[in-house]
C-alpha cells in the first residue's frame, strides 16, 4: 500500500499531537508533561541543550520508547499504526551510520520503499521510479551506484533525505541536519524543506544551531525536560527564552553550536 500523496495536501490536518508526555529511564526523568501540536505543512525547530530531551522526544514520536504518561498521535493515528502507513521518516545524524557498509546510494534510498513492498521486498517499477525521483530531487542521480562510504558528509546526508522522500513520509524527523554538511547541501536542503512544507509535509528539526532556526523555521519548540515555550519563531525566539532554555547563559554566548561541556545533563 502506498501512502496517498494527496493526503499531504489536507491543510488543517494535525501531523503531530503530543499531550502530557512523560518519559523516564529507570527512575530518571527525561521528559515531563511535554505537549506539542503541529499541523501539516510546517517547519519546526526543536531547540535545547544536550540531554534536554530532544532525542527522547524523537524516540517517543517514533514509538521506540513508551511514555509513562501522555498520548502521541501522528496524522491522528497511534504511532505504531502511523509507522505501518509509512508516515514517519527519520533522517539520522551521519555519525550514527556505518559508512563502510557495502550498500550503494541507490540501495539506501530503496530502503525507504521497503515498508510499501511485499514481504520479499522485491522492487516494482513504481518503487524504482520513486527512488529515481527522490535522487533527482537531492541531485544525486549521477552518484546512484557509488558505495555510501565514498560519499562526502553532505552527499551522505542528501542520500538519507532522499530515502525519506522515497518513503513518501508526511512527517520528517531530522537530527542535526546541518552538522558537517557543505554549503551546496545546506542550500539544497533549505530549498527542499520549503518545498516539503508546500507539499504539506511537517518537518521537525532537532538542532542546537540557533542561526538555522532563525532562517528556516516557522515554528520553534524550546525544550529542557519539558516544553518551555513553543509557537511562531518570531515570537518565541527571544533572547530571554533562549537564555532560559540554555540554563541562563547570556544569549550572545550561544549563537554558535552549543559546546557539550557542562551542558550535558
Amino acid at each position: 500500500m502506498m501512502a496517498p500523496v494527496d493526503a499531504f495536501r489536507s491543510v488543517d490536518r494535525l501531523r503531530i499531537e503530543a499531550e502530557g508526555l512523560c518519559v523516564d529511564y529507570n527512575g530518571t526523568v527525561a521528559l515531563y508533561d511535554a505537549g506539542l501540536c503541529l499541523k501539516s505543512g510546517c517547519i519546526c525547530g526543536l531547540v535545547g541543550m544536550n540531554g534536554a530531551g530532544k532525542s527522547t522526544l524523537f524516540k517517543a514520536l517514533m514509538g521506540f520508547i513508551r511514555p509513562s504518561r501522555g498520548i502521541i498521535r501522528i496524522n491522528g493515528l497511534p504511532v505504531a499504526k502511523a509507522q505501518r502507513e509509512q508516515a514517519v521518516a527519520y533522517v539520522p545524524q551521519s555519525e550514527g551510520i556505518d559508512c563502510s557498509f557495502p550498500v550503494s546510494v541507490w540501495d539506501v534510498v530503496m530502503m525507504g520503499r521497503y515498508g510499501s513492498m511485499n514481504l520479499l521486498r522485491i522492487p516494482r517499477e513504481s518503487d524504482r521510479a520513486a527512488v529515481r525521483h527522490a535522487l533527482e530531487r537531492v541531485e544525486l542521480l549521477d552518484l546512484r551506484d557509488r558505495p555510501i562510504g565514498s560519499l562526502s558528509g553532505g552527499q551522505r546526508k542528501r542520500t538519507f533525505l532522499a530515502r525519506a522522500i522515497a518513503q513518501r513520509a508526511s512527517v520528517l524527523l531530522l537530527d542535526e541536519p546541518f552538522n558537517g554538511v557543505d554549503v551546496r547541501t545546506e542550500k539544497l536542503m533549505a530549498e527542499l524543506f520549503l518545498q516539503f512544507r508546500d507539499e504539506g509535509r511537517t518537518i521537525l528539526i532537532s538542532t542546537h544551531d540557533l542561526s538555522h532556526v532563525r532562517d528556516f523555521c516557522d515554528l520553534v519548540v524550546l525544550i529542557n525536560k519539558t516544553v518551555l515555550a513553543y509557537g511562531e519563531t518570531a515570537e518565541i525566539f527571544t533572547p530571554e527564552n533562549i537564555a532560559m532554555t540554555f540554563g541562563g547563559l547570556p544569549p550572545n554566548l550561544i549563537t554558535g553550536p552549543a559546546s557539550s561541556e557542562e551542558l550535558e545533563g
Binding site: 521518516a89 527519520y90 556505518d98 530502503m111 558537517g180
Partner: protein, 299 residues
C-alpha cells in the same frame, strides 16, 4: 609413497579420495555447511556479532551432552542451549551494569565449563574430541539428515528475509520507523546463528566453528562494496575452503577442521594483501575514494 604417486597427476589428486564413501560424504557435508555458514557470515561480520558467534558455539556443549544422555537428536539440545545462552546474555546485560562483551565472555565460558563437567560425569560414548574438533570424516547418516534439515531452515530464513536482515544490520532505527519488527529480527538472527553453529559443529567442531561464521564474510567484505556480491563471494570462498580443506587433510593426513579453517584464513590473507580496493597492496592507479570537492567539515 602411494600418496606422493597419486599427487603426481592433479586429476588423480581429485578423484582418488572419491573412491571412499566417507570422503564423498565429508566433502558434501563440508561444502553444504560451508555454504550455509558463509551466507550467514555476511550478517555476522556486518552486524559485529563475531563474539556472539563464538559465545553461541561454545554454549551448545552442555546441550549436546544432555541430548545424548536423553537419547534426543543432539542438534535439538544444542539449539536449546545456544538460544538459552543468548537469552541469558541479553537478560544479564539488561539487569546489571556489566558491559556486554564481559557478559558474553562470562556466560559462554560458564556454559562451556558446565558442558565439560557433564561430559566427564555422564556415562556415555560421547567422544569429547569429536565435539570440540569435529568429525566430518566419520559423520553418520542420522547426523547428515540433521545437518540437511538445519541447513534448509537456515537458508530459507536468510533468503526470505535477506532485505530485512540487511536493513536491520545497516540501520535498525529506520527499520523500526517503517514498522519492521526489529526485536523479532534480532532473535530470529540469533536463532539462525544457533542453528548454523550446530551445523558447523559437525564439520569443524565447537572450537573452530566461529571461523566458519565470520572468516568468509570478512574476506568478502574486503573484496566488494555490494551486499549481494558480498554474499556470493562469502559463499564461494567458504565452499571452496571446505572442499580444499577436506582434500588437503586427506592427502596430508592431518586434522580436517584445521585444514578447512586454515584455507579460509589463507583466503582472507590473500584478500587482506591483494584486494583491489581495500588490500594493503592495492593498485595505486585507483582514484581516491573520498571526494573532497564538497569540502565537508567533520561533524
Amino acid at each position: 609413497m602411494n600418496a606422493l604417486l597419486a599427487m603426481s597427476t592433479p586429476l588423480s589428486w581429485l578423484l582418488e579420495p572419491l573412491s571412499h564413501g566417507f570422503m564423498v560424504r565429508a566433502l558434501c557435508v563440508s561444502a553444504l555447511v560451508g555454504g550455509v555458514c558463509g551466507l550467514l557470515s555476511c550478517y555476522m561480520t556486518l552486524k559485529g556479532w563475531a563474539l556472539m558467534g563464538d559465545a553461541v558455539s561454545h554454549a551448545v556443549l552442555p546441550g549436546v551432552v544432555v541430548a545424548y544422555a536423553l537419547a534426543l537428536p543432539f542438534s535439538l539440545g544444542a539449539f536449546v542451549f545456544g538460544v538459552g545462552s543468548v537469552a541469558l546474555i541479553g537478560f544479564v546485560k539488561q539487569k546489571s551494569r556489566v558491559k556486554e562483551d564481559t557478559v558474553i565472555g562470562l556466560v559462554f565460558t560458564g556454559f562451556f565449563a558446565l558442558g565439560l563437567v557433564l561430559v566427564s560425569r555422564t556415562r556415555s560414548n560421547i567422544d569429547l574430541t569429536h565435539i570440540l574438533f569435529g568429525n566430518v570424516l566419520g559423520i553418520s547418516v542420522a547426523d547428515i539428515q540433521q545437518t540437511l534439515l538445519i541447513s534448509g531452515i537456515v537458508v530459507l530464513i536468510l533468503v526470505l528475509l535477506r532485505r530485512d536482515l540487511m536493513l536491520f544490520c545497516f540501520d535498525p532505527t529506520h527499520a523500526r520507523s517503517i514498522g519492521i519488527n526489529t526485536g523479532l529480527l534480532h532473535y530470529l538472527l540469533l536463532s539462525v546463528l544457533s542453528l548454523a553453529a550446530v551445523a558447523g559443529l559437525q564439520t569443524v567442531g565447537i572450537i573452530l566453528v566461529v571461523a566458519m561464521l565470520i572468516t568468509p564474510g570478512a574476506t568478502a567484505y574486503l573484496l566488494t562494496d555490494r551486499f549481494d556480491r558480498m554474499t556470493w563471494l562469502a559463499i564461494f570462498s567458504s565452499v571452496l575452503s571446505s572442499l580444499l580443506g577436506v582434500y588437503i587433510s586427506y592427502w596430508s593426513d592431518s586434522s580436517t577442521a584445521g585444514c578447512i579453517v586454515l584455507v579460509q584464513t589463507g583466503l582472507f590473507l590473500i584478500a587482506f594483501l591483494f584486494a583491489p580496493r581495500y588490500g594493503i597492496f592495492k593498485r595505486r592507479s585507483l582514484p581516491a575514494v573520498i571526494s573532497s570537492q564538497d569540502g565537508s567539515k567533520p561533524g
